[in-house]
Amino acid sequence: MAHGNGHSQHGDGGHGGGHGHEHGPVLNPVFGVIGEFSDPEVLLRAAEKARSAGYKRMDAYTPFPVHGLAEAIGFDDWRVPWAVFVGGLGGAAAGWLLQYFTAVVDYPWNVGGKPLLSWPMMIPITFECTILLSAFTAVGVMLALNGLPRPYQSIFNAKNFERASQDRFFLCIESEDPKFEPNDTAAFLLSVGAEEVSEVER
């Protein structure tokens, strides 16, 4: 498992306006500065430039997955596939043990002198349990790591943000970033091709 940097693991799980901040000593009223783009290619380049300019805490918002964008903002997280692997092993074990326990231990039933542990007959259900648990793990872990469902998020305060699910592309540099300074960051976003830049309230 590779993680791009220390923050990326929890990049959107714990910093985006969760309960941690409500009780914390510092509450920055500004969530970040957001730039709006019309072209995913320009956004991709802008994100790369922001990274090389030293920004670390940012996120991009696009109506469809843009390949290479997660890489560009320095995000890398392979916990979902690993969790699925573990979930699949768990499913296989559960399916097998269920049949072993019921057919051999708890309810041994002699049918025509055949062995109690007639393992080839146990493969289909073991297989189905593997798939079922893997699939639930994939979805559950993906949603949990993404912090969903969460109806309110600070990013929704961004200007024009309803178009992030339609035809516009956004790059938000968050106020948590050590290098964040509202005016400079806004100027930076304009310089890398943002058509409009605005502040996002928390």
């Binding site: 990326s8 959107d12 019309s38 072209d39 995913p40 290619e41 994100a47 996120d59 991009a60 918002y61 696009t62 109506p63 469809f64 997955p65 843009v66 390949h67 290479g68 997660a70 560009a72 903002i73 995000f75 997280d77 392979w78 979902v80 596939p81 699925v84 269920l98 019921t102 057919a103 708890d106 309810y107 007639s118 007959m121 146990m122 289909p124 259900i125 297989f127 189905e128 349990c129 798939i131 079922l132 893997s134 699939a135 994939a138 979805v139 993906m142 949603l143 790591l145 993404n146 969903l148 469902p149 969460r150 109806p151 309110y152 998020q153 309803e162 992030a164 699910s165 339609q166 035809d167």
Partner: protein, 507 residues
């Protein structure tokens, strides 16, 4: 997702491999099999054309008529089920020697229809076939609704559906456990896993589109409902990253799952010793038949829908052409299965197997066998003609024939194998009762009703994947990224006037 295709080794592809830029008017010169998105579209018109079906306040009159007609049939189904639960399954035509009648025929038929949805969404995704993008959503919906219809039959065939939970393993005061060595028990696990995985796969695919509808809906109630269902999706790059991981994993899981489901359904027969059932060809033959039936049903629904809602830019003639080719290919596999069944009967040298073959060809139900050969063997051969694959009439005619043919196939396998037992004294004829028919027609109504509700309330074409397809068709190679081919579709996000024109032109 499909976009990962050109960049499976993004930094490694040589820049020299990038194709030369194609002029914008090149749409006519491209080979037709590349047109999976037609017309002039940008990101906004895609959202507009697909979202409009859901968000426009008044559905077309055809939608209202069909939905009400289907709702009438749903009531027929409900009345049949009520009468069935009150009286028991004696109201059906199955009895000795034919213990499996319409209930099992329809179960297998419906399950098979569902399989195309998973094939399109999972296997074609893994094979990086971008043509799946516009048909996967409603094919997945078909899967779920078909599984619902399928599940009703064995559930009610148990005779006491209110204790159907006995089939699940739970510690109980009877001190018993289910018999896990039985294919019927495997069926319980396979079909319920299939239903659950199909539902989550479909729902995960819907989340970004629900967010799009949330942001586009004007009516506050719709906005709130789509907002809740969309789970607060923002389109964050981090979220997309994990989303694609999970979606690809789900596809990877669904592909073997769908093969296992119909394999296990075929074990219901093949593990038994009934002559005509006890053959090793059953699993692949059933799976091919399922895909065959499923694609026919996708076309049966898809062709009228794309016309009704003006979606020909997304479900293009090329899509229909390719679906017809898959129907032809799987049809040939199925036909090979029919030939092998005859061969097995002859090669076994077993008098009972030979009797089944003889009975199929010349027995009292021979008409069903010949009708089956006509529908599944002869009719798909029309698709060898390119003209027929581009002709709506032939596409629909052959699809309907295949729908009927696949039902007849199960009829030939199930009652025709059962109705002449080993001893002539236990021979009998099977005739379905009015309740068999009302139940069957009722599930067709339920399927249509659910499909039409789905079309009205959820986007029937995957919006974000269509945008992704557009992005792939239009973006220029950079850093050694290689695009699939040149750009034939113009993106003009900056010109609102043309956006409106394109949206109108697409109707």
């Amino acid at each position: 997702m499909a976009t990962t295709k050109p960049t499976s080794s993004p930094r490694g592809a040589p820049p020299a491999a990038a194709p030369p830029p194609v002029p914008a008017d090149a749409i006519r010169t491209r080979p037709p099999q590349q047109n999976f998105l037609e017309g002039r579209h940008n990101y906004d018109t895609i959202t507009e054309v697909i979202g409009k079906v859901v968000l426009s306040p008044r559905p077309p009159i055809q939608w209202i008529l069909i939905t009400f007609l289907a709702f009438g049939l749903v009531n027929v189904l409900l009345m049949t089920i009520t009468w069935l639960v009150l009286n028991g399954i004696g109201i059906w035509g199955n009895n000795q020697p034919v213990g499996w009648g319409f209930d099992i025929i329809n179960f297998v038929w419906w399950i098979g229809i569902g399989h195309a949805g998973t094939l399109i969404s999972a296997i074609l995704l893994l094979m990086q076939q971008s043509w799946r993008n516009s048909i996967n959503r409603f094919a997945e919906a078909m899967t779920i609704f078909a599984v619902i219809c399928a599940g009703l039959f064995p559930l009610l065939h148990t005779g006491r559906p209110w204790v159907a939970y006995w089939m699940f393993p739970y510690p109980n005061i009877m001190g018993m456990w289910p018999q896990f060595r039985s294919p019927l028990m495997w069926d319980v696990f396979a079909v319920s896993t299939y239903a659950l995985v199909s539902i989550i796969f479909w729902f995960i695919g819907l989340i970004p589109d629900l967010a799009t509808l949330r942001d586009r809906a004007k009516w506050p109630v719709a906005k709130a409902l789509y907002g809740i269902a969309g789970m607060g999706w923002t389109g964050s790059a981090k979220h997309w990253f994990r989303y694609e991981q999970a979606y690809n994993v789900l596809a990877g899981l669904s592909a073997p799952l769908v093969l296992s489901v119909h394999t296990i359904v075929s074990f219901d027969f093949a593990v038994g010793i009934v002559p005509g059932w006890h053959t090793t060809i059953f699993p692949p033959y059933f799976v091919a038949g399922a895909v065959f039936a499923g694609f026919a049903m996708v076309m049966t629904f898809g062709i009228p829908l794309r016309k009704l809602y003006g979606l020909k830019d997304f479900i293009t003639d090329t899509h229909l052409d390719w679906m017809a080719k898959i129907t032809l290919a799987t049809g040939l596999i199925v036909f090979y299965g029919y030939i092998l069944e005859l061969f097995y009967g002859w090669y076994s040298g077993n008098v009972y197997e030979l009797a089944v073959v003889n009975n199929r060809l010349f027995g009292p139900y021979a008409w069903a066998y010949y009708a089956l050969l006509f529908c599944n063997g002869f009719m798909p051969q029309i698709f060898w003609s390119r003209k027929a694959r581009y002709n709506t009439f032939w596409l629909l005619t052959v699809s309907m024939a295949v729908n009927v043919g696949m039902w007849l196939e199960r009829f030939v396998i199930i009652p025709v194998s059962l109705h002449r037992d080993y001893l002539p004294s236990s021979w009998g004829m099977y005739s379905p009762t009015v309740f068999d028919w009302s139940m069957f027609i009722g599930t067709m109504g339920l399927f249509t009703f659910l499909m039409f509700l789905f079309i009205k309330f959820l986007p029937m074409i995957n919006i974000f994947e269509m945008k992704e397809l557009l992005y792939r068709y239009t973006h220029r190679p950079r850093n050694g990224h290689q695009v699939e081919d040149g750009s034939a579709i113009t993106v003009e996000a900056q010109r609102p006037a043309e956006v409106g024109a394109a949206a109108k032109g697409a109707h």
